[in-house]
């Protein structure tokens, strides 16, 4: 007979149940039965000398003013990384947006009665604007733009370099609204012979005057076409900027690394000669080579010609699934992520589930402009159980694409290697 249960089988099954009752085990006390799942362990306190194997950096979560719990890199000055899950959408919430300051005098309060944005230096009419004037007297303009730290993903480099050990979360994308920088400069009337504009925020450090540990200064060439796109932003995703992201106003330099996006921008200084301060002449420089690549030997030999860092290279990320749980085989799951480039609009995103041997295009999400995160998704089915290495690569409309070769330079900048995520696919039956 088909459904006959053998006497032995029945006794075995009753035995299991019987044993359970004997232990007094019923739903809320079942922990005595079966295998203890064990206690959750903390992530390692540091990574290296190999590359950081995690998507994010490994610090503890911390709750800072106006912020959701973010990953702590350093507490003074404040450096916080955005957890991976916040990149499921094109716009990063303000309270989850990463934070990076250089000097420990990070503003805790700004009084808008006295604060003014000043334009000075080589101009005919030095001028200052109150916050109220900025929001009322100019036509607001908005740009969706990615803000990425120069050192994003520094913890991937081999050999490792000293500096902020960021995972991939030193980036974010927001709708920035404010006043065109050009409009403000026109009112101050830039004099002939000016070459650069220097930006300074409220940030100060404990170091002696005249040293880079005292103030943080960044400059852009006046001839740079990005000037036409820069805005002095007083809104971030339609809300005032969090203090840690640069309240009351922040410079937005679309396509450029965040080092130029001066927070709490207060002084705009027109220069007659190139800025030779440390943060331009020594810091934030990249080898003048393909992808900014060099080697420790070339650095030691002192043969590396460097230039100030500029636009960020094309990148893409798989955000979910993030590899933290298994996927049953045979089931379609949606892979989701983002892509962006400082050089142009994202043209395509491709997925590989065979470690980069073959690539198939993903579906691109809504286009909010050339500097915005572009979401993508892809329906993926693993037909058999196993470990899969999913890779994602993006190409922009200038035909810049991601490569599988690593990047190395002593500053730990420009990392944009093709990202991979191991996914464990389990049996479904």
């Amino acid at each position: 007979m088909q459904n006959r249960i053998s006497r032995r089988d029945l006794l075995n099954r009753l035995g299991v149940a019987g044993a359970a009752f004997a232990f007094g085990a019923w739903p809320d006390k079942v922990r005595a039965i079966g295998q203890d799942p064990g206690h959750q362990e903390a992530i390692e306190a540091f990574t290296g000398p190999g590359p950081n194997p995690h998507w994010n950096s490994v610090g503890p979560y911390i709750t800072e003013p106006q912020k959701a719990p973010l990953i702590l890199l350093t507490d003074r000055p404040v450096q916080l990384e955005t957890p991976r899950e916040y990149f499921r959408t094109a716009f990063t919430p303000n309270d989850a947006f990463y934070v990076r300051w250089h000097l420990d005098g990070v503003p805790n309060a700004v009084d808008l009665k006295t604060w003014k944005l000043k334009i000075e230096g080589n101009v005919k009419t030095p001028i200052a604007f109150s916050f109220d004037e900025l929001i009322r007297n100019f036509t607001p303009v908005s740009v969706a733009a990615t803000n990425q730290c120069s050192g994003n993903s520094r913890s991937r480099l081999q050999p490792r370099v000293a500096g902020g050990q960021w995972g991939n979360g030193a980036m974010g994308n927001a709708m920035w609204t404010g006043v065109r920088l050009r409009e403000l400069l026109q009112l101050a009337q830039v004099k002939d012979g000016s070459v650069q504009v220097q930006f300074q925020g409220l940030e100060t450090g404990q170091g002696p005057s005249g040293f880079p540990s005292n103030i943080f200064l960044k400059s852009l060439d006046l001839s740079n076409t990005v000037f036409d796109e820069c805005i002095v932003a007083y809104l971030m995703n339609g809300e005032p900027l969090p203090m840690l992201n640069g309240f009351p106003v922040r410079l937005v330099v679309p396509g450029y690394f965040a080092t130029y996006w001066t927070k709490c921008l207060t002084w705009i200084r027109v220069l007659e000669a190139p800025d030779e301060n440390f943060w331009m002449k020594t810091g934030y420089r990249i080898p003048d080579t393909q992808r900014g690549n060099t080697t420790p030997d070339e650095v030691k030999a002192g043969t590396v010609k460097t230039v100030p860092i500029g636009r960020f290279p094309v990148r893409s990320f798989l955000i979910s699934p993030d590899g933290s749980s298994k996927i049953p085989s045979g089931m379609a799951v949606t892979l989701r992520g983002i892509a962006f480039s400082g050089f142009g609009r994202i043209a395509r995103v491709e997925i590989s589930d065979d470690d980069g041997k073959t690539w198939v295009p993903a579906k691109l999400g809504q286009d909010h402009g050339p500097y915005c995160f572009r979401t993508w998704d892809f329906s993926w089915t693993a037909k058999s159980p196993g470990r899969y290495s999913l890779a994602v690569r993006a190409t922009d409309d200038k035909n810049n694409t991601q490569l599988d070769q690593p990047v190395w330079n002593p500053g730990g900048y420009l990392w944009n290697r093709i990202e991979r995520q191991e996914i464990v696919v389990g049996e479904a039956r």
């Binding site: 006959r4 249960i5 029945l10 099954r13 009753l14 299991v16 149940a17 359970a20 085990a25 739903p27 079942v30 922990r31 039965i33 079966g34 295998q35 799942p37 206690h39 959750q40 903390a42 540091f46 990574t47 290296g48 000398p49 950081n52 610090g59 979560y61 709750t63 800072e64 003013p65 106006q66 890199l73 350093t74 507490d75 003074r76 404040v78 000097l103 420990d104 990070v106 805790n108 309060a109 009084d111 808008l112 009665k113 913890s155 490792r160 000293a162 050990q165 450090g205 404990q206 170091g207 002696p208 005249g210 040293f211 880079p212 540990s213 005032p240 203090m243 309240f247 440390f278 020594t282």
Partner: protein, 138 residues
Amino acid sequence: MMTPNTKFRKIASAAVVLATAATIVFAEVKKGYYTPSKLGSLQQAAPVQMASDSNYEVSAYPAPAPELASGDGLAEVRIHCSTCHSPRYITMQPPLPAATWEAEVTKMNKVFGAGIPEDVSRKIVAYLQSHYSTENRR
């Protein structure tokens, strides 16, 4: 009329239903495990008080002290390195070659104007090298 055989089969069926239910509870899922571990928990900050004036203020930024390796030079690190930044700048780093730690302290003095006396700088370098280098960081 129920034969002893069918009677047995009915009892068997009922038992199987029970047993199957028990198996679902005890074999196919695990339930009810808790741990007193504090891992993953984080205190919420209380809402701040605000006046409707022109001052925009946030509370102090939390700066919990990181754990530093104990040993010779620790006191000097706490005094001098902490002038400008949290010692988390040390603990955050990957294990670095001894020469890199020396270069970092030199940079702090020469480039950033830390002005740490030479003998103290040597002590700080020795401390960093003996606790946070490729050879010995744990």
